[in-house]
Amino acid sequence: MRRGLVAIGCALIALATLPARAAGDDADDWLQRMTESLASLNYDGLFTHSSGAQSETMRIVHRVENGRSMERLVSLDGSGREIVRTPEEVHFYMPDRRVVLVEPRSDDGSLLRALPSPGPKLEALYTLSLRKGTRLLGRDVRVLDIKPRDGYRYGYRLWLDEQTAMPLRSEVVNGDGKAIEAIHFTRLEVGNRIGPRELEPAVDTAGFQWVRSGNRAEPRVAKGGWQVQRVPPGFRLVATRVQVVPGVPVPVHHLIFSDGFASVSVFIEPGPATGPAPPESATVGSANAFSTQVGGHVVTAVGEVPAATVRDIALSLAPIDVAASPAKPVSEPKNH
């Protein structure tokens, strides 16, 4: 069909700009392939996001142009919320609160940033295995199982399309092997041309409050700094940056911990004077959050890891006692 021919032409162009695909047929290779596909292909699909008894229909549109990606995630059923990622910014539309949060885009544009790197480090924490799966959406699939070796992280089960390695279904699996969250595509177009209109939000923002980052000022936090004490095995601090959090009048510190696959963000903001104290723990789908108050500050850890892990990471931060001899400062990794 005519549309098909046009799409093939564009898809060929898209393929030509793909990085060299991982050769080989191991679980590691498939993980690599999947991550590359998600980062570098155009796609437009509908999926069901379910956790517990709740499920929501969402649409995702992803386009890559000149090496930069744009993405739009829309909730079709409930809140009408959307996240639109343009080359420069990330906009989070919350029509239920009449707010748009605007953040500068933080990745440096490299499509393959934050690839989980298979190899000894990842293997120490997860086992990967591959098997043939039942067809999904009329496609042949391989099932990639990512099993954690300990209880500090979640597992994943990924049904990857044989041809494109796109995850047609993905589950986050807890320590009992139970799926606590699932994303399941009911329709997916890969490699097609994506018009600019598909990446525009459907929200009318008249009267909305737009919350933007101000200048990158230093946040008003504890004198003397913070130290990271014992974190769960496999996790290490990979980046620190300054972040504006809507609702908090001053910028906050944002620390990123990662085990090579899962990541946990920690936000440190001044104490309760700035607003209601966050709940001690919260869960939404596979994401857990834990807040604690330390030295007049609120430390919140968020990530797709078990609740104990966010708790441990949040509790691993302590203000440096100015009087004591300073611990060796961390050699700053990438500072975004």
Partner: protein, 218 residues
């Protein structure tokens, strides 16, 4: 090798093509089903449009109610959106899912309604106190009248009780279908039974729920 992939295979083109062997593999997905209904409407069958309305009425009313922030008008505006969709159906070519297309129409209809009423946009900080905010913005409890709210809750608990009372295989089947969004084939794989059994289990679960709902809603 054809790099382009459409899953499930798109059916929406206007050019004739070989129909798939439906005895072996029924139309895959709600998507396909919607497209088939749309084609029938385009050929003049009004009845097919009624089914689309039945399928999406709650979603559209819910969506519009949230956009308008005044749920009492939600049904009228939702009705207008469906009528618009019917009028515009001739130009729908199946490039997107029917619901995605309908969603956009509903959003625009609600937006136009608000614009025509020239509502002054809420001054966020000035107009809403914290408690008012919680009252107004509690997600799924945004209903128009106490009676409607009560009915809505009653429907929910009736459905829940009916599901709880189901034998486990029926309950699993309908949960996998309605909450997880799995296809019959995928459910058959999960429950290790034939597709025909899945279809029958889901049907019987729905019948049980219908029996419970009937006295409530008639």
């Amino acid at each position: 090798m054809m790099p382009m992939a459409n899953f499930p295979p798109s059916d929406g083109s206007t050019e004739p093509h070989e129909p798939r062997d439906d005895a072996a593999r029924p139309g895959s997905g709600v998507e396909q089903s919607d497209l088939e209904l749309v084609r029938r409407v385009q050929r003049g069958e009004r009845g097919a449009f009624d089914l689309l309305v039945l399928r999406y009425q709650h979603k559209v009313v819910k969506l519009v109610a949230r956009l308008l922030r005044d749920p009492t008008e939600a049904e009228d505006v939702a009705q207008e959106a469906f009528v618009k969709a019917y009028r515009a159906l001739g130009s729908f070519r199946g490039d997107s899912a029917f619901y995605t297309w309908l969603y956009r129409i509903a959003v625009n209809t609600a937006r136009n309604t608000m614009a025509s009423r020239q509502r002054r946009p809420l001054d966020y900080e000035a107009d809403l106190s914290e408690s008012e905010q919680s009252a107004v913005e509690s997600r799924m409890r945004h209903v128009d009248t106490p009676e409607a709210a009560a009915l809505s809750e009653e429907i929910h608990s009736t459905v829940n009780s009916a599901i709880e009372a189901l034998p486990e295989d029926l309950r699993t089947a309908i949960i996998l279908r309605e909450v997880e969004g799995l296809s019959y084939e995928e459910i058959a794989e999960a429950m290790d039974c034939p597709v025909g059994t899945v279809r029958s289990r889901i049907f019987r679960a729905r019948e049980a729920i219908d029996r419970s709902l009937k006295p409530l809603l008639d």
